[in-house]
Symmetry: C2
Subunit: 204 residues, 2 copies
């Protein structure tokens, strides 16, 4: 829930990794995915798509869409380059993976990463938040008593929120570890009904 960085590109790669899509739909899915704050504007999405076309990460799909709709729409799909780039970004472990902006998208596409990577990213994120908590608590001791009541209440609520997120991450980490022990490679409980992995009705 914060500022974005190179976020959109990864999100687009991830969504197109599921299957071809046109810009308008991409925007809707994106807004659902990272839409807790602001809503992504067209003035942001379309130029990004153009740029990704230029760098050959995506291409216009030539396959005629099996749809009644005769609307003018441009369906995009990943190129091999784009596929590799997605892989590369998703296996990248480091600050970019657990900063506020990117973490959400990284997490949303966790289904396409190894558990090892997932664990590293979750733990990185947790450390990040814990550092932040430590810093704030330390500063609260230093500056104590000088803040007014409302400001203090805001601080308190902020700390509580971050602590909650830390607990959430801890639970996720434990869950990943459990799965690592009960099974060797793939996840047992998470991927339950994956009989039809990508079945999306293109407006029937």
């Amino acid at each position: 829930m914060a500022r974005r960085g190179e976020t959109i590109e990864l999100a687009v790669l991830g969504l197109l990794h599921e299957g071809p899509m046109h810009g308008y739909e991409l925007r809707k899915r994106l807004n659902l995915m990272l839409g807790w704050g602001r809503v992504l504007s067209y003035g942001s999405l379309y130029p990004t798509l153009k740029k990704m076309l230029r760098t050959h990460l995506i291409e216009e799909s030539t396959a005629p869409v099996a749809s009644v709709s005769k609307r003018h729409r441009i369906v995009y799909q990943l190129t091999d380059v784009g596929d590799l780039e997605f892989e590369r970004l998703m296996t990248e472990v480091g600050p970019t993976a657990w900063e506020d902006d990117n973490f959400g998208i990284r997490f949303a596409f966790f289904g396409r990463t190894d558990m090892e990577i997932r664990l590293r990213v979750l733990e990185g994120r947790r450390s990040r938040l814990q550092e932040r908590l430590a810093r704030v608590q330390q500063q609260l001791e230093m500056t104590q008593a000088e803040v007014d009541q409302y400001a203090a209440e805001l601080q308190r609520h902020g700390v509580e929120s971050v602590e909650r997120e830390v607990r959430w991450l801890s639970e996720l980490i434990d869950a990943e570890r459990d799965r690592a022990h009960t099974q060797g490679a793939v996840s047992p409980r998470l991927h339950t009904d994956q009989s039809s992995p990508v079945t999306r009705g293109e407006e029937p």
Copy 2:
């Protein structure tokens, strides 16, 4: 915890409303206040101060600081114009008050607003979040089952967080209303030990 807008200016006005301060200290206080996400950079703060000087919202304090420190520092203080502008911004009720960016700062300075304003802003914020919840939940019904497990978990956690914030706001609203009934004008429980409202040690 999100994007900023005209946020910094209000924050600076609010902090200087407490008393004169120099840029470096301003930055530290600002980071504590809105620092849950990113940290404010100098490249952002100093140009803002310059701009506020130009528009006569603030001025360089000529009063020699009662301090041993001989460090080169520029102490800023509010002008009458700046004071009025702060008042104006703080009494402004509307989207700008309860958007993600501004709400935090508005809240932090609630001590300098009437309860009537506070209530309107808190309720506005709550409605905003509830709309957002409704929108997401509706879209979840529409798109249901197509999302993968991790994406779904992220959604779930997001919804939970927002619901938590709504509860928090509701408690605050109730508290304000209680105070309105038990007392006429000023707050009873919040302002407890305000014997020395602004006593900050300028490095002793």
